[in-house]
Symmetry: C2
């Protein structure tokens, strides 16, 4: 649900508001997505495509003895990431501009690699895995976290709500990405030759008894879908009436009787030693 690794337009844009959404998302999902990621002191960790640093601060705080190198293709995002990390007093992160397809590192440089919400934006995710694998030490681990918009399940169900989500899926696919990539982590990692691959789904469920999660659905998921309104209507993927109805229906799922589920996928694997 985040950044992209080329200079081509990024489906969610790179506005300050989007940076805020990404930071909010990362903080709300930190427990669910990061609780089982800890790197031992002294280990060298590459965070590939750190964007505005939303995951970086969580990673670096959770493994204060590890040394992180966080790269991103976008200089503007890196400026935001550096500011954020320095604002939090974090000192174990070095930032570098770089592209996951042309990593500025020699082979076997890192003990671990961490990648969150990147693959969904790449035209050739498998190639990116192979490139990253090169920079990993034998025996090192790689971790991926991705969403899958096909997992959105809600009540009241609504055709129009699915249509507006499909607009985002469609636009992302046109830009070379894949918003349904979570379910593909297994084959991507095994095809790239990683061993001990383990994929685990992480489900977010919101109903009125969990007001924090309900706010998350509005401020993370629905806000993300709303972000492609102009593009979707300009490209005639949907008319504006259907769009408004679909968004209204998504908000209905956050009301008293509503429920909303979304599944993230986390995968870990090893480079054979």
């Amino acid at each position: 649900m985040k950044r992209k690794s080329t200079h081509e337009p990024y489906v969610h844009g790179r506005s300050d508001r989007e940076a805020e959404r990404l930071n909010y998302q990362a903080s709300k999902l930190a427990g669910l997505l990061h609780h089982d990621t800890r790197y031992s002191p002294g280990s060298r960790v590459l965070e590939a495509a750190c964007g505005v640093g939303a995951q970086t601060t969580i990673l670096a705080k959770n493994s204060p003895g590890a040394e992180f190198v966080s790269i991103d293709i976008s200089p503007d995002s890196l400026v935001k990431a550096k500011l954020r990390v320095s604002h939090e007093g974090i000192t174990n992160v070095t930032f570098l501009q770089g592209d996951v397809f042309h990593l500025p590192f020699g082979p076997e440089t890192f003990d671990h690699i961490f990648v969150c919400f990147l693959l969904e934006h790449l035209p050739d995710p498998l190639l990116s895995l192979k490139c990253m694998k090169e920079t990993l030490q034998p025996g090192g681990t790689i971790t991926f976290i991705e969403g899958d918009h096909g997992s959105a399940l809600f009540f009241p169900d609504s055709m129009d709500a699915h249509k507006v989500i499909d607009c985002l899926v469609h636009l992302q696919r046109e830009m070379g990405g894949n918003a349904l990539i979570g379910r593909e982590l297994w084959h991507l990692m095994t095809d790239a030759g990683f061993t001990k691959v383990a994929v685990s789904p992480r489900i977010v469920y919101a109903d009125a008894s969990r007001p924090e999660f309900v706010e998350g659905v509005k401020n993370i998921f629905i806000a993300m879908v709303e972000g492609v309104r102009e593009q979707a209507i300009a490209r005639h993927l949907v008319d504006s009436e259907t769009w408004e109805k679909g968004i209204r229906d998504l908000y209905c799922t956050t009301e008293q009787d509503g429920t909303f589920c979304y599944t993230f996928f986390k995968a870990t694997g090893n480079k054979e030693s």
Copy 2:
């Protein structure tokens, strides 16, 4: 994914093969669905709609000091359930024929009620909740477990695979049920006036690193969909070529590169004391 509470035809049928599928399903999912259900010694527990007893044996073994009354509308299913329970040497279950809309018990008879894979088959699930609530002691708990076929998420994705699943959803709806009911447990329980309602999704994920789950996808989910082939084709919901292609595509998700996810919903609530 199971039984029905009237004498009308039951979407999955009541064959021996179906009973076997239900028992296999229950044993495979016992940890996921039952690990947090334990009843204290001496408590009186109603299992509403026990079917062939697939969940009964798990329930009764997990809470050996509790006294279970397991009811079902179908005398044939009850015969199978009794045999199964006696075969396992279980002695804390009494079976009774009964309908959840006309329960043969006075008010406030039970300390707890347990219901699994029933609501999806009922024409008026909310009414059934209200009927069951009558028989519950103030302060007693009720537990529901239901699937939601809209949660099926798989790779490789396939339009035809979704079409065959939709046939089952459609046939179940025609018979007055709702195969997408998992997402509705929250509002059903709050609308029925239960308090402290807590819903938790339970996701099953299968890839080639988890061969037991892959077998489960074949023997539970795909077998269940295959069970409505004749009806679906006879009702012209799909042509036989699309059907075969959809089923083949479902089996593809159980091969080396494939993944398959399904989400169950478990909900607990209290009757106000």
